[in-house]
Symmetry: C2
């Protein structure tokens, strides 16, 4: 049983490592967008395999531990949480990569004013991911519940950015292509916020045994 506890700790470490990596990818992706810097995008692409490999390892360990040990209710919840949070983090990493791809298209054109709103939205989305992981690491439901509240802010930003860019496109067709890329980036950030919300819900369920099913 001692061995089992150690194995659970190992698994936990892997998720935290995945979270740090995913966070770092978002941060670099947003920097690439703000600084219009292609080299930063390359850094993000370079991390994809590592994140995917970690998710495979997390899933593998969670399933093996379930099969080899008889987990208690709380441990079983932890093992499922580990597997699902691994999935959310892998999706967050995917969104960071999508932000870089959309940035690559956007920076082929002159900058658009709205880029001042996107970084604010990006900040909120990043904070949601950071907080959802802190909630898990500190086993703190109150931090997780803050994340759930933030989600509405991100959605409001997405709508605002969408409307603003739409008016630019209608006014000047030359802005259509870069504006489209920015609209897609806003949606990438929205999805990052959704995944952070899912992680926060998993953490609350893990700690309180409460169940959520409204994954975004």
């Amino acid at each position: 049983m001692r061995h089992f506890e150690e194995q659970l700790q190992e698994l936990f470490k892997r998720i935290v490592l995945m979270g740090t990596l995913a966070e770092n990818m978002i941060q670099t992706a947003v920097a690439s967008m703000v600084k219009r810097n292609e080299a930063l995008a390359q850094e993000v692409f370079a991390k994809e395999d590592e994140v995917n490999a970690l998710q495979v390892e997390v899933d593998d360990r969670a399933v093996k531990l379930t099969a080899l040990q008889q987990p208690m209710a709380k441990d079983a919840r932890f093992l499922f949480m580990a597997s699902r949070i691994g999935g959310e983090l892998e999706r967050i990493a995917d969104q960071a990569i999508n932000i870089c791809q959309n940035t690559r298209h956007a920076i082929e054109y002159p900058p658009i004013k709205t880029l001042v709103e996107l970084p604010i939205m990006a900040e909120i989305a990043q904070k949601m991911v950071r907080d959802s992981l802190s909630a898990m690491i500190q086993r703190d439901v109150s931090i997780a519940e803050k994340v759930l509240v933030e989600e509405k802010k991100v959605d409001a930003f997405r709508d605002q950015i969408f409307r603003t860019l739409l008016t630019y496109m209608m006014a000047d067709p030359r802005t259509i292509q870069p504006a489209l890329s920015l609209i897609l980036i806003a949606r990438n950030l929205e999805r990052i916020g959704d995944h952070a919300t899912n992680i926060a819900e998993e953490v609350i369920y893990w700690i309180q045994g409460r169940m959520f099913g409204t994954a975004k």
Copy 2:
């Protein structure tokens, strides 16, 4: 142990039910788009709670079974698959809802030619979901592997639709708003294809014990 087997069967039934529901939601959402029919969109919105409730139940049963019984490796894999496929199906249902929301915006404007390409893409995405579930029900790896191949088709369609709509928008700004909605629908369909691919990978892992970690 007999009781455990029955419980696993019950869980399996719930996933199949969820899959049927999600499939039905995509079909209705696509019909709503093609027929430009708002009433069909309402039918899809009405099913959201049922899908979410089913996911909660699937997760709940999977975790409880893991905690109450000592699952063998294959059963443990099944329980994790159940939980993860439940998550994918809930996300597929979300995308059906997004298609309806985007359709609602699109039909405020005159139809755009490209709508002939979208239904073909929708057909492929729907077939991918259907096949990924058949692969699970029939425990047939070859069906699951076909789904993985289809994914590239969906991505190619998304790019083609995106390019075509872009030229329309540049040529006539009055098409910008409806075209944007169609671009978003193409992305919704792409994500449905991604989730079907994830389901197919879960099924292959379940049957062969092979591990995937590249969730989309």
